[in-house]
Amino acid sequence: MAVFLFMIFALGACGSALAIVLSQNVVRMAFFLVTALASSAGLFFLLNADFIGAIQLLIYVGGTVVLLVFGVMLTSSAPVLAIKSHPAEVLQAAVIGAAFLALVASTVLAVDWAGNRDKLAGYEAEQFRQRHHGREIPRGFNPEGEGNTVRSLGTALLGLRFDKDLGTSDHLHGELSTGYLLPFEIISVHLLVVLIGAAYLARAKRRPENVER
């Protein structure tokens, strides 16, 4: 069942990506970008990363692509709207794409997936369970037990890693894991700077007065 769902979303992502490349209408390309990003969000949900999947939908699909379509629709004139590629360009793109695919595939195959599995949160939960002598632990915080990455992510962004610290003796001795509060604040200031810069760049410019002699 998981493989079947994965196939659906993987076909959606790869098929949409191919459609973006092969399509000749810019607005259709933007639409296929929507389906490609939505399929990636589906893959995130399959990995139980519900928060990341939701963020992907909200920011990429709901935000970026709407603005892209907005911009494309308003600014594209006829020569840009129907893109016809020169065969030489197609060959260049195919060669670069194949090289990149070979690079990514070799990297993926070189990773020790079985060894990395132990480092994921399931392993830490297993350790936690063993520390508490195999008691039956109610799954998740919400009663139906689906999707529970938000709370850990949120508290980690506030600087509190309870998924690592609780149950250890470190918190009794005052040595807690570092959360992500500092990067969070840095990003907040960064975004503020970006907002101010964008507002400045998009300001209405005053035209110099024409002085009548």
């Binding site: 939701a54 709901g62 936690f128 799954r139």
Partner: protein
């Protein structure tokens, strides 16, 4: 004993009912059942509210509305409209981008349909009780705008293009106040899970988040206004703007495709009213503590009474949402339309600062109260489920589905949060 719809998740019940099913198919069948239920809750309210709109509009305009189809009150008028629309010609203009033209209504409908997956209609009656349910619902709802904008562009008509562009500008304006006012009850309740947010509003109606602080009270009204903008309802209906733009984004659509847009619109009206009820108005609780306590206690005694309690909760929820939809219809037929620059001024220049101030106030309110009256709420806690302030309530845990889940297996459980609560509570005693 398995109790579907009460204590057992649907996929577990199906797995127990049909033990011969191969692995994973129980979840698929449960998904099909859920899809049918959501389809019913998507279509029937739209059916009802279209009729209600015509009757209410008629009454506001001092006339009767539909009175012929299906009896004296025109109950079946929506059905007659549906039959008429199905048999209309499905045409596309010659200048239209046919693939996108045909696709756009489905985008709008599917976006709203998927958003219904995360709404609990009663205690535990939800398709996906995600811990990020509210967030995903809002994320998926923003896809609807893409359908509108694509419809506006691909129709090949200038009226449609204007309507689509106006809708895009409107979306950019209302998304921020919508996000901020949605976060305010989340901050008070401490969870993005809609079921938990409602579970914390149990007890007397003073526990409802709308009465939690003056800031959440105002946040409810700002939320309501902003959701009017998100539904393209008057006074924010410039995307459609019958008196200016012929039909706006749906000018060139006819028949069933046109009706998809309207199905999406009325379903979205019901959806945002349901969200307002869940976030601010106590969800499925009646607001009278003895009645709610009786219904919640009934589930312990017998399953039949438990079902009855859930059904009553659902009816209360639907009634509250219906009242809010009625208010939306009422506003539409009372107020004139705003211009697009007025919409953007309202949302960007006024509602954003207002919602930021409300957010700040809602965050500081419990902190100030905790230092003044030693508890985070103004009134003493009266929740019958937990005698605890709203920030410290933990919803009762229920049996979790063992057949649902994708089984990819990389990240399986994070029992730590629940154990955190157990540890904390044990340490407090």
């Amino acid at each position: 004993m398995t109790q579907p719809l009460l204590a057992t998740p649907m996929s577990d019940w199906i797995a127990d009912l049909l033990p011969a099913l191969p692995a994973g198919w129980a979840a698929v069948l449960a998904a099909l059942v859920h899809t049918a239920l959501i389809g019913a809750f998507f279509g029937l309210p739209a059916f009802f509210f279209i009729w209600a709109e015509r009757k209410v509009a008629g009454r506001i305009q001092d006339r009767l509305g539909p009175t012929r189809v299906g009896g004296r009150f025109g109950w079946l008028q929506s059905l007659a409209d549906g039959i008429k629309l199905i048999q209309k010609e499905d045409l596309a203009p010659q200048a239209a981008d046919v693939v996108l033209f045909r696709l756009a209504p489905y985008l709008a409908v599917v976006a709203v349909f998927v958003a219904f997956m995360f709404i609990p209609f009663s205690d535990g009656w939800v398709v996906m009780a995600l811990d990020v349910g509210l967030f995903v619902a809002l994320a998926v709802l923003s896809l609807e705008v893409l359908g509108i904008v694509l419809a506006g562009y691909s129709s090949g008509s200038k009226w449609s293009l204007f309507g689509g562009m106006r809708e895009a500008a409107q979306m950019v304006s209302y998304e921020i106040p919508l996000g901020i006012t949605t976060v305010i009850p989340v901050v008070v309740a401490g969870s993005l899970n809609l079921g938990e947010i409602v579970a914390m509003q149990s007890g007397w109606f003073t526990n409802w988040l709308v009465f939690n602080s003056p800031f959440t009270f105002l946040a409810f009204f700002v939320f309501f206004v902003v959701t009017l903008a998100s539904n393209k309802r008057a006074p924010f209906d410039l995307a459609e703007a019958e008196s200016e733009l012929v039909g706006g984004f749906h000018t060139e659509y006819s028949g069933m495709r046109w009706s998809f847009f309207f199905l999406a619109e009325y379903a979205a009206m019901f959806f945002v009213s349901a969200l307002a009820v869940l976030l601010f108005l106590g969800g499925w609780w009646t607001g009278i503590a003895p009645i709610d306590a009786a219904f919640a206690g009934m589930a312990e005694t017998s399953p039949a009474l438990g079902y009855l309690g859930r059904v009553v909760g659902m009816l209360v929820f639907l009634a509250k949402s219906g009242i809010l939809v009625f208010v939306q219809i009422w506003i539409r037929w009372s107020l004139p339309r705003l211009r697009i620059d007025q919409v953007m001024t309202t949302c960007l220049k006024y509602l954003i600062p207002i919602s930021c101030v409300l957010f700040l106030g809602a965050v500081l309110w419990p902190l100030t109260l905790a230092s003044v009256v030693k508890r985070p709420t103004l009134l003493p806690p009266t929740g019958f489920v937990h005698e605890a302030p709203i920030g410290e309530r933990v919803p009762p845990s229920r049996r979790v589905s063992r057949t649902q889940g994708t089984g990819v297996g990389l990240v399986d459980d994070a029992e730590i949060p629940a154990l955190v609560r157990q540890e904390t509570r044990r340490g407090d005693r």
